[in-house]
Symmetry: C2
Subunit: 404 residues, 2 copies
């Protein structure tokens, strides 16, 4: 059953081609051990060259090293080449990055570099259907919007593949048993503090018990459709960009408003998101509220501007809508924070002084320990209250908002 | 605040035009009372003609009648015309229909007929943001797929409008207080047995407490985007239909397979859904598993066919993919069940006898109390076990499957 579902997933989702060289990411847990064995059993049919990759996060000392040895032995028994990596000892985790994110970044960097070295066109990961349901729920709970619903993709960047995405953990355990394969359990997975683990051990079992025993299937099916539809939406953007008169220049992007407005509202929103992301060079932290601000611009006449995430200013000037990055951003990957890095002189010399453009939403670091956080509340979020909170009427603010 | 948000919603979502005649559905609960008052306060700006509509479900005897009197008084005080309706006493609820569904059908029939009578182009409903979040969660938990994520639409069929969709219950209560308005509480809302009420009183508060206090905002924002994107996907279907050589004839719909396959997979799936719905004339009960069956057909050569929901057969015959309704369906609105209504004579006279085409998924009623339920398990659902369950290997079944 397991291998048949695996093969079906590979075929249906186009994950492998004959002759592929595949780096298989093996942690030593049940999922990756089953993944490795499943791919070994498909090897001849697809004429695959397999290499085992293991990344030692070194978080649990001797236990981590024992896992590495376990994977080494697994590779040896299977007659496969092994590549290992570990967290660089000298690296310092940046403030605000979670340990989980930091480890993931290094793990993927290792997988990328190794795949390049051994000229593997594919990197196989052991995520299964339940991981998928957890991810979608996590995104939903975080309020990450419709893009989060596609969850983890069966194939990402044409390179990372997830052949177990149609498989349940129970099927994985049954397969391991049928092949008498052992595995290591990662103890950190049991830590209830992490959001994912709370979803894994509390929310998802509860939803299955009280609401729908087949919810994992339902959610992962929905994720698949969301992934496809998202892909389609993205595929029509280049044409939409051109038809809205989109063009780059002067360090930004410009559209013709009348042409832009003939597009479907969903496409207008996607274009705004696309352009902001392109200017920032990373996921944008752009929210629905920001998109709404740009839409409001379109309803005005003459000149108007709004400040978006990542230091982007959207300007309406008669028949043109333009987006420009007016401030550098400290960390392009940072989703909700950015520091002002440009000190502007304004007005006459007499009035001039250091001043900061206010990022909305965002955080302004005036001095160590002295930070102002800005967010839009009320319409899209409850209005917070407290001694250190000031509420301004968004519709009466004149932009750019400056702190001096 | 309430009226400003209401007005913003009306403007942003294009719910009203100047001079609109609006039938306002008023149950007497806080939401509809606030809706009515809010529209009264917007009346002059939009030059609205308002009529109050109340439907008495008669489920709670004297309490229901008291609600009707309460709404009548409300209309009288506001100087507005009142139209009332009630459940027909002679009507019998069909088996398998929930009381809630049955009431809703009659309520909407009343609203539709009344709007036609008074020539109201709009029917205003009091659903708010929390209703939206509940609906999306309910759809998600039911496994209703990506279309369920759009939740309730701000405007449906160009006629039903929901001006409170960006408003929270707390804002509604505050508004009612500020205007010294009273309202009636609908006791049946507190019944924890209903799925919606379990979500309302248990799941949603829990998600807010444990996971994200702003989840209602997050979900309703996501629903808005999902609604827009769904609308866009639907808007491109006519062109896709034509470019895939879609044409009606012989009681079905036919595509040219090579042209069909040039379309994006998301669009192929939507077209399958569209055609099946058009043939059935109602929501189809078509699941992702069915769509996958059609996709499998496309990968074969020569002649092949599969049986879908609602008595639809999809046939691949060389370069053509066709969909035909081969069996009537007992209740087109029924999503998961349909009875065979066509008794076919097959083979020679000697072999001939009554026989039933098997609906997959579906229920076959052979005699009162004797029913066979068919479903596809394993790949998309856990394989059920039990004494009265037989599992057949789907891939080895030859279609059409016949019960005799």
């Amino acid at each position: 059953m397991f291998v048949r579902v695996l093969e079906k997933t590979v075929r249906r989702r186009g994950l492998l081609e004959r002759g592929d060289r595949v780096l298989v990411a093996v942690s030593g847990g049940p999922d990756s051990v089953a993944l490795l064995r499943g791919l070994i059993e498909l090897r001849s049919r697809y004429d695959l060259s397999l290499t085992v990759g293991h990344f030692n996060h070194g978080l649990r000392g001797a236990a981590s090293d024992a896992e590495e040895r376990f994977v080494a032995e697994l590779a040896l028994k299977a007659g496969l080449e092994l590549r290992t990596g570990r967290m660089p000892t000298a690296s310092v985790r940046p403030r605000g990055r979670s340990l989980e994110d930091w480890c993931r970044e290094h793990r993927y960097a290792f997988l990328d570099a190794t795949a390049r070295e051994i000229q593997a066109g594919k990197i196989a990961l052991g995520h299964h259907r339940r991981d998928q349901a957890e991810t979608v729920l996590m995104n939903l709970l975080r309020g990450s919007g419709i893009e989060g619903l596609k969850g983890i993709l069966p194939i990402r960047d044409g390179r990372y593949i997830r052949p177990l995405l149609d498989t349940d953990p129970a099927e994985i355990r049954a397969f391991l048993e049928s092949r008498s394969l052992s595995f290591r359990n990662d103890a950190s997975n049991r830590d209830i503090r992490h959001l994912r683990n709370r979803i894994r051990h509390d929310l998802l079992p509860r939803l299955e018990t009280v609401y729908n025993p087949a919810i994992v299937h339902g959610i992962s099916r929905m994720a698949e459709i969301a992934g496809l539809e998202n892909d389609f939406m993205e595929s029509v953007l280049p044409e939409a960009y051109a038809s809205a008169g989109g063009r780059e220049g002067q360090g930004g992007v410009r559209f013709d408003i009348p042409a832009f407005l003939t597009l479907h509202e969903a496409i207008q929103n996607r274009l705004i998101l696309l352009v902001v992301r392109r200017l920032i060079g990373a996921p944008s932290g752009l929210t629905h509220a920001h998109i709404q601000l740009v839409r409001n611009l379109l309803g005005r006449s003459g000149y108007a501007e709004v400040h978006l995430a990542g230091g982007i200013t959207a300007t309406r000037s008669y028949d043109h809508l333009s987006f420009q990055q007016t401030a550098d951003v400290s960390s392009p990957a940072s989703r909700s924070q950015h520091r002002p890095s440009r000190l502007r002189r304004k007005g006459t010399d007499a009035e001039a002084g250091f001043q900061f453009d206010v990022p909305i939403p965002g955080v302004l670091s005036l001095a160590p320990g002295c930070r102002l956080r800005f967010e839009v509340a009320g319409v899209t979020r409850p209005v917070p209250t407290g001694r250190e909170i000031a509420c301004l009427d968004y519709e009466r603010i004149r932009f750019p908002l400056v702190c001096r």
